[in-house]
């Protein structure tokens, strides 16, 4: 079975290479700064011992004051996983895209853009995927009626 890595130890590694990237560490997940998300992801993918070669899931949550995007990374090589979160404000809902590192991010980021209205900078094809282009609003936001 896939084991989840200890968040505190991974957060320590991130802090050594990318100071200031980690905002908060809980038992379940590491909350990283939105601006350094791409650097953290690159560190995850290309560091020996971590080797996260598979991005399984991206989801987003509306917490009224801000949006939180949750990434689930898995390493097929070492059979371990890790949950990473990043936040963006309601006024400027934008985060860096991870398509350049994992192609599996493509459709999931488009779905989040479609239903939650978060723009992923650097995505090659940032348009609606579930709804049609003329649709108004983003239905999974809490203030959508």
């Amino acid at each position: 079975m896939t084991t989840s890595l200890l968040t505190t130890e991974v957060a320590k590694q991130i802090n050594e290479h990318l100071p200031g990237a980690v905002v908060e560490t809980t038992d379940a997940a590491i909350l990283v700064n939105g601006n350094s998300l791409l650097d953290v992801a690159d560190f995850f993918k290309n560091t020996a011992g971590l080797d996260f070669d598979y991005l399984t899931t991206i989801t987003a949550v509306d917490y009224y004051q801000y949006f939180e995007v949750i990434y689930l990374f898995v390493s097929m090589e070492h059979n371990h996983s890790l949950v990473v979160k990043a936040r963006c404000s309601r006024e400027n809902p934008s985060l860096p895209s991870l398509v350049s590192l994992w192609r599996s991010a493509d459709h999931q980021e488009r779905e989040i853009y479609d239903l939650m209205g978060i723009t992923f900078e650097g995505h090659p094809n940032m348009k609606r995927i579930v709804l049609w282009p003329e649709f108004q609003g983003h239905p999974l936001r809490k203030d959508y009626l």
Binding site: V130, L131, W132, F135, P139, Y144
Partner: protein, 202 residues
């Protein structure tokens, strides 16, 4: 020395041989003349070989007995439809076991499942491609009214928004028996159709 078989027989071997021979003799005695070939009706009067019917009735009989559904099942009611197709409920008893992958060869659209607005133009297009005459059965709560998803931002509230519906089959999903009953209702509806009188209206 006599060897006993250890069993009591009703007839001796000789008597059995005689009985068997009697059967053959009886059959042979009764079979001296050939039986006439069953072609005597060929020489009968024409009146016994003509079936009088209405053209309307015979056309409707042909149509209702060979309804071919098009493959267009957007959601989960399709699985109930599959069990109707299968050997347990066997829709083929009603002349519609042939699922058509091409709408141009199909007569019946069974709307098995929730329809989203994004999918709606494609279902409308399949309906338009079907050749006349064509019929629609709205299957399940979603097909009738959108069901529990009726107020959703992306669900068509009933197939009758985009295609005309002939028979509504309620249920979530409907039991296979319910769908079969709906199909039989549609067959009764087709049986009453006038193809020539009244401008093709029943």
């Amino acid at each position: 020395m006599e060897v006993s078989s250890g069993r009591e027989h009703l007839y001796s071997d000789t008597e059995l041989d005689l009985l068997e021979g009697q059967v053959i003799e009886d059959l042979k005695a009764a079979s001296q003349e050939p039986i006439s070939d069953p072609d005597s009706w060929l020489d009968e009067e024409l009146s016994q070989n003509v079936l009088l019917t209405r053209l309307d009735w015979i056309i409707n009989w042909g149509r209702r007995s060979s309804m071919w559904p098009v493959i267009c099942f957007p959601a989960c009611c399709a699985f109930e439809f599959i069990s109707v197709m299968g050997p347990r409920f066997d829709m083929g008893r009603f002349g519609m076991e042939v699922l058509r992958a091409s709408p141009r060869q199909a007569d019946l659209l069974i709307t098995a499942g929730t329809l989203t607005w994004k999918m709606a133009p494609n279902v409308r297009r399949i309906y338009n491609q079907m050749a006349e005459p064509k019929w629609v059965i709205a299957m399940g709560a979603c097909g009738i009214s959108g069901g529990i998803f009726r107020s959703s931002y992306n669900v068509v509230p009933g197939y009758n928004r985009i295609v005309p519906v002939d028979v509504y089959v309620p249920g979530c999903p409907p039991r296979p028996e319910a769908l079969l009953y709906g199909i039989q209702m549609l067959q009764k509806k087709i049986a009453r159709r006038g193809n020539f009188a009244n401008g093709g209206q029943p």
